[in-house]
Symmetry: C2
Subunit: 410 residues, 2 copies
């Protein structure tokens, strides 16, 4: 199995990969083609069969939120049983009509599944500012409800937009009290940003947790994964992470136990790897980079963002050009008015010390050029100050990004 | 004449265009090929003959400043007589060696021109983090000093990097007390940013002003021109604006007179048009846009930056796609946590009201699509709040931007 494919993540010892389309006990999913997109699957439905399922959710922080986000936030976010996820149209900026459509889809799913409408989460992704065809969505929800099965293939495809491939995994996690499963289906390629952006990630486990624990684990793991990536620095209207725990494995994970740590470690590895897959699938991306910034705790975040979001750094990454001048320049942009005492390493080789470029002879330069041609490139910056450290993962900026976003309305 | 070619600028009534390579009385310029770039002119020299010349200057605010900026800031910025401007290598991040090279070029120019070293401004643009070949630069300065003439053609070409054409103008300005000239030579295409970026603009007038007036006029006009443009949101290490006034026209422009206003108006028009030329020449740019934001004075700037710097808005601009959803999305990114009551007009046509997209039928949509295919596109956003208004000019994001910046080290 090859889910943990990046050098920046690794499979925890107590985790085993299963078929990526598998689901934990008591979860069922489906995906259908409802005609919202010109072709392909576009309405997904995921449900937990257990009455006492708990959930946790995180949403976009944009000032402009999609109707599905607004409606879900007003629902019982810690007691969700299901999610309707659709692609092709984000249902954003459509006023009362958009809210009505979102609520109608919530009611249709509740009706078909025999749960309360307030227990159905919603997520839509796609074009902004156009009407989401209500009848297509509702018919899709009803058809999906009739096709539910213990397999996430169609569901994970129904949430794709410009993604090159579905992003999903199912893990078996060995806890002290027994074995549980942890599965996830994610999407995201463009509009991936500072705070975490048009991405969805739905996670299911058959472990039993209380809602408070699940919320804490979700918060911590999202902060270390989807909030540490940037494709194009664009915050979406529709980002949604929903994590379900239904207890069907018969393994209770109590607060402040070693099992909570072990499950958290598995969730962390799962979300980080999915986050890296989103970056690697960044629209038009050829390779991804990690920038690590150490120094003044109040400045490391801004420096990391300045580097990760610089189109000059991103085009150099695309061109496999070890152009450290652009990285220093982006760093300078966010460190105004102080002595520029910055060290920079590229792929473990120091190229600047105290803000001054080091001499690099022809052979060394060729080695460096070779080193930045891989799929993953690492930059480490040390700025003045002590105690702070952060990391960001980002993709390159390519012709294909321009083609995708100039020639298609997304 | 066609200098004032944008619909967003206009020639003031009291201004007449001269040959764009002309200079005001008492200024001389030259440009030579010194071998810093693989080919072409790369060292420029500009000098004012009058002892009592005054000057004003503005520089990049980056934390990483080029050696020429550092050395110029330590010189007599209100009494400059000359500037050495070179292209091909920015002389940045080269430590003491870079500072020594900058000072040597200042001394060489002072020696050749018979002025004090502290009266020579410096400006270099090009690659960062490589040694600027000192002997080539010094030889270039000496040759340029021997070739000075009343014509700015070679000078304006010697400062170009990825610019498609030289940017320059010479205006005749009719004041109440007499007629003066106002000329400028600018460069800039990439790394053009929030605060104003790798751009140079050298301005000469033969009007007589005191240093304080000149500084004030420069400050105001730069704030309305080079600080209102963005090609790629990248702040450079080397931005430099220097304005010289040498009094050779025999027309004194006193503080708080109508002539000061008239000269200021001409300088404003000149700098705004040059700023627009920099945006239009943005690396790979096909068209430029103006975004106007009205509403809460504390928020208009951040919203304008979010729109102008969004790669999704910029690619839509490139593709002539009236994709207002992306503009609303970028706006939402900078307006978190409040009701999204935003109006948007594209080319005078309202497309969203109170955060809700308006119905646009097929004919109207085609009209809108037509309207965004020109060289200049205008967006007007109204956000909650009163009294604030700002504008930003920005370029599209194209395949050529990626090609230029992925395939060449700049």
């Amino acid at each position: 199995m090859t889910f943990f494919g990046s050098r920046w993540t690794q499979r925890p010892e107590h985790v085993r990969e299963l078929d990526p389309c598998d689901l934990p006990a008591g979860f069922r999913a489906a995906g259908v083609a409802a005609g919202i997109k010109p072709e392909g699957l576009d309405v997904g439905l995921l449900v937990s069969e257990a009455d006492d399922t708990v959930s946790a959710a995180r949403f976009s922080s944009s000032g402009l939120l999609g109707a599905p986000v607004v409606v879900t936030q007003q629902s019982e976010v810690s007691r969700l049983r299901a999610v309707v996820a659709s692609s092709g149209n984000a249902n954003v900026a459509d006023g009362q009509r958009g809210l009505d459509t979102a609520q109608a889809s919530q009611a249709a799913a509740a009706d078909a599944l025999g749960v309360s409408a307030h227990q159905v989460g919603l997520a839509s992704t796609g074009v902004i500012g156009r009407e989401l065809p209500r009848e297509s969505l509702l018919a899709g929800v009803r058809r999906a409800a009739a096709e539910l099965g213990a397999h996430a293939d169609h569901f994970s495809r129904a949430i794709m937009t410009s993604d090159r491939a579905p992003k999903r995994a199912c893990l078996e996690v060995e806890l002290e009290r027994g074995t549980v499963r942890l599965a996830a289906q994610a999407k995201g390629a463009g509009m991936i940003s500072p705070r975490f952006a048009t991405m969805f990630c739905f996670v299911e486990t058959d472990a039993a947790l209380d809602a408070e624990s699940l919320d804490l684990l979700t918060r911590v793991c999202v902060a270390r994964s989807f909030e540490r990536i940037s494709v194009d620095a664009q915050l979406s209207t529709s980002d949604t992470v929903i994590v379900f725990a239904n207890g069907r494995a018969g393994v209770a994970v109590e607060q402040r136990t070693r099992d909570e740590l072990l499950l958290g470690e598995a969730l962390d590895a799962l979300m980080r790897q999915l986050a890296l897959e989103i970056v690697a699938d960044g629209e038009g991306a050829r390779r991804i980079a990690r920038v690590v910034v150490r120094g003044d705790p109040d400045r490391v975040e801004a420096v990391a963002r300045a580097v990760a979001d610089s189109p000059l750094v991103k085009t150099a990454l695309h061109g496999a050009d070890p152009n450290f001048g652009r990285i220093l320049c982006a760093t300078g942009m966010s460190l105004r008015g102080e002595p520029f005492l910055v060290d920079l390493e590229i792929e473990g080789r120091q190229v600047a010390s105290g803000g001054v470029a080091l001499e690099i002879d022809g052979d060394e330069w060729r080695t460096l050029e070779q080193a930045v041609q891989g799929d993953e490139v690492e930059y480490v910056l040390t700025i003045p100050g002590d105690g702070g450290e952060t990391e960001l993962f980002f993709s390159d900026l390519s012709h294909d990004y321009v083609t995708l976003n100039a020639e298609y309305t997304t």
